[in-house]
Amino acid sequence: MNITKNTENDRMNFWEKIYLPEIARGMGLTLKQVFKPKFTRQYPEEVWNPEGSYRGRPVLVKEEGERCVACGLCSRVCPALAIEVQASETEKDKERYPVKFEINMLRCIFCGFCEEVCPEEAIVMSKDYHLVFQSQEEAILGKDKLEVPIAKLQDRLEFLRQYR
């Protein structure tokens, strides 16, 4: 038979085979880390505030009135089918608005495509990453939870203006 042999047993020398010096070396490495500075953060008591470039949960921008015209492009582009929009007619200039706007946060993958496609800059990625739900139903956020005053979104809007 034609066999090429390359087992671990053949490759290791005697000292490696008895393990003990290797264990000591590993312990040494661990001991070294103990004296290095700590990186652990005490979340949630200690909260990290991300930069404008951070992609937290998508939210709707709220000025006086709404920016969203319920065009459904975010819903179309969303790779996870997280967004459901139902348009309706209004008397205002823009003609349409969303009677229903829901994002299923269990589906959302925070890709930011919805923000990228939006012609009105109405949906943007916020800094909010604390997402806690007690049921599947609760994870579907309606307009009430999605609308965020524009003042709170300045960082992101500024970021978009600069880098898009």
């Binding site: 015209v69 319920a70 065009c71 459904g72 492009l73 819903s75 179309r76 089918l81 459901e84 348009a87 309706s88 007619e89 823009k94 003609e95 349409r96 829901e102 299923n104 269990l106 589906r107 012609p119 009105e120 599947q136 994870a139 579907i140």
Partner: protein, 590 residues
């Protein structure tokens, strides 16, 4: 027949045709906005500019050939519009040469100068001719920096249509449709240049019975439907082929569905039935009864109430109840609203299982509905077919005309009816309270359904596969557009995007599927209860039996009906010639 050459392809076509016609009939598209095969030629959009040339002739009239024996072509110095140029022997047409492409780009640039480009809020987006050509034939950049011309964006044209003057590209299709097809000449152009605008004559409305067809032929989103406005984006909807059940014309339609709800109905081209059109009545009236107020599961009467039950309970109860009567005491009523498959099985059930001769149907003739275009007085889509497949009283059978008397004198004690709409037959409805048994295959909770003893939840025309026979004896195939518990597998990828991919934790899929069955299936199961076994697995099997048993259907299959867009009764072997159907703009990405 003249021989012409389009983009190097030799074509033989009938004399008198225009270049654009010759092209589309041979499967080639020449870009255009204002031309429509059913309307007169207006030649105003200039999108169809092509290069046209004729073979050069020698002084003696013979054709001059080059060294290789091909004719030398001398082209017209300027591009010509393909929609208004009639073909001639030997004509050469180029639609892809650089000068043509440049002309297309220029026309697109002009059209887009004042176009608002509000696609995100425009219902036409996704199926817009301007959008489509914008992708394919325009540069994608604008050199126009000045302020666009603004115009009213929300102008009512009557009960059905909203006009957006900014989006209009002034192709005049709507004006010509009004003049030539709908015969209501109330639209016209006013002003000139970039201020040209469509206006209604003072004090008039665009409110004819076919008005909404302008929404379909408008190449842009300038005309939108009041009924549909903003209900859904086209790419979220599925469009499945069906037949309008509004009257016996049987206009070919597409049913637009999202979240398992019909949102709109639009015409589907069939040169032998409805061409490109359908009436507003059909468009607006034939979907609400499918969406709303439905009977979603079988029910049995318990005292004064209809109680939902399982299908098996309903079958058992129906068997037990029907057995209490003599066959001649039971009246079977078929329906001109349902497909041949259901009617055929009803007739078979009555004759073979119950052995009753009392089979008939109610017709609904309304002379005031009729006009000289599409609408016909028979307001049911399939009375002709129902009679053809056996919904007709046998020798001694009771006719519906006599039904009232027979009920009064207790000759008829039970009625089995596969429709729920006999409202127009008041006297019978009054007498129904005295009936001993009423079994209904119901779609909606109508006054008749509410009086029934046993209710079978039936699938409507939008949920079944089947065939109708129209006023000209044309057999046409309809396919399901909505999902029920029964046809889920069959629908599969034919569902709309959201319906296809929804999961149980999505709100849009939360509603329960309707537990309805097609008429033929209900009756097949009921026959089984009577120990009569029929082997139908699908509507196709039923139709196959119809084609074998009833000579006028001989030789037909669903595939053949689709292929020829319907076949005439008794003439399955002589179908109308197949033609390439012109589609103005139907780009609907999925």
């Amino acid at each position: 027949m003249p021989n012409i050459v389009i983009d190097g392809q030799k074509i033989e076509t009938a004399a008198g045709k225009t270049v654009i016609e010759a092209a589309y009939e041979n499967g080639m598209q020449i870009t255009h906005f204002c031309w429509h095969p059913e309307l007169s030629i207006s030649g105003n959009c200039r999108m169809c500019l092509v290069e046209i040339g004729m073979p050069k002739r020698m002084p003696d009239g013979s054709i001059q050939n080059d060294n290789e024996g091909n004719p030398v072509i001398s082209y017209f110095p300027k591009l010509q519009i393909a929609c208004a140029t009639t073909i001639a022997e030997g004509m050469h047409i180029n639609t892809k040469k650089d000068n043509v492409v440049k002309a297309q780009e220029a026309v697109m640039e002009f059209l887009l100068i004042n176009h608002p480009l509000d696609c995100p809020i425009c219902d036409e987006a996704g199926q817009c001719k301007l959008q489509e050509y914008g992708y394919k034939y325009s540069k994608g950049e604008s050199r126009f920096e000045e302020e666009k011309v603004h115009a009213p964006k929300h102008q009512s044209w009557g009960p059905t249509i909203v006009f957006d003057a900014e989006r209009c590209i002034k192709c005049s299709r709507c004006i010509r449709f009004g003049q030539e097809v709908a015969k209501q000449d109330v639209l016209t152009f006013v002003n000139r240049g970039d201020h040209v605008k469509i206006e209604l004559f003072e004090g008039t409305q665009f409110d004819n019975p076919y008005s909404m067809n302008v929404i379909d032929i408008c190449p842009v989103g300038a005309l939108t439907s009041k009924d549909f406005r903003f209900k859904s984006r086209v790419w979220d909807m599925s469009f499945n082929d069906s037949i309008c059940p509004g009257c016996a014309r049987g206009c070919n339609i597409k049913i637009g569905v999202r979240n398992n709800e019909i949102l709109r109905i639009e015409p589907r081209t069939n040169p032998y039935v409805n061409k490109y059109w359908m009436c507003d009545y059909g468009r607006l009236s034939q979907y609400k009864f499918v969406n709303e107020d439905r009977v979603t599961e079988p029910m049995i009467r318990w005292k004064d109430e209809l109680i939902p039950c399982s299908w098996d309970e309903a079958y058992a109860k129906a068997e037990e109840s029907l057995k209490k009567f003599m066959p001649e005491e039971i009246m079977f009523i078929g329906s001109g609203r349902t497909a041949n498959e259901g009617n055929y099985i009803l007739s078979k059930f009555a004759m073979e299982v119950i052995k009753s001769e009392n089979i008939d149907l109610f017709s609904d003739i309304d002379e005031s509905f009729k006009d000289d275009f599409l609408k016909v007085s028979d307001k049911k889509p399939n009375c002709r077919g129902a009679v053809e497949v056996g919904i007709i009283p046998e020798k001694n059978g009771v006719k519906v005309q006599n039904l009232h008397d027979k009920m009064r004198f207790k000759n008829i004690k039970a009625i089995y009816i596969i429709t729920d709409q006999i409202v127009q037959f008041r006297p019978i409805l009054d007498e129904i309270d005295d009936l001993e048994l009423l079994i209904v295959h119901a779609y909606n909770l109508t006054s008749l359904t509410k009086k029934a003893d046993i209710v079978f939840a039936a699938s409507t025309y939008a949920e079944i596969e089947g065939t109708y026979v129209n006023v000209d004896k044309r057999v046409q195939h309809l396919t399901p557009a909505l999902v029920t518990a029964e046809n889920l597998r069959f629908m599969g990828m034919k569902m709309s995007r959201l319906d296809k991919f929804g999961a149980s934790n999505d709100r849009w899929t939360q509603h329960k599927l309707r537990n309805t069955l097609p008429h033929w299936k209900i009756l097949t199961k009921l026959a089984e209860q009577f120990n009569v076994k029929w082997n139908y697995k699908s509507a196709k099997d039923v139709f196959k039996e119809i084609t074998e048993k009833i000579p006028s259907f001989a030789g037909m299959t669903y595939e053949k009906l689709d292929e020829y867009q319907g076949l005439t009764l008794g003439k399955a072997e002589q179908p109308d010639p197949k033609v390439i159907n012109y589609e103005s703009h139907v780009m609907k990405p999925n």
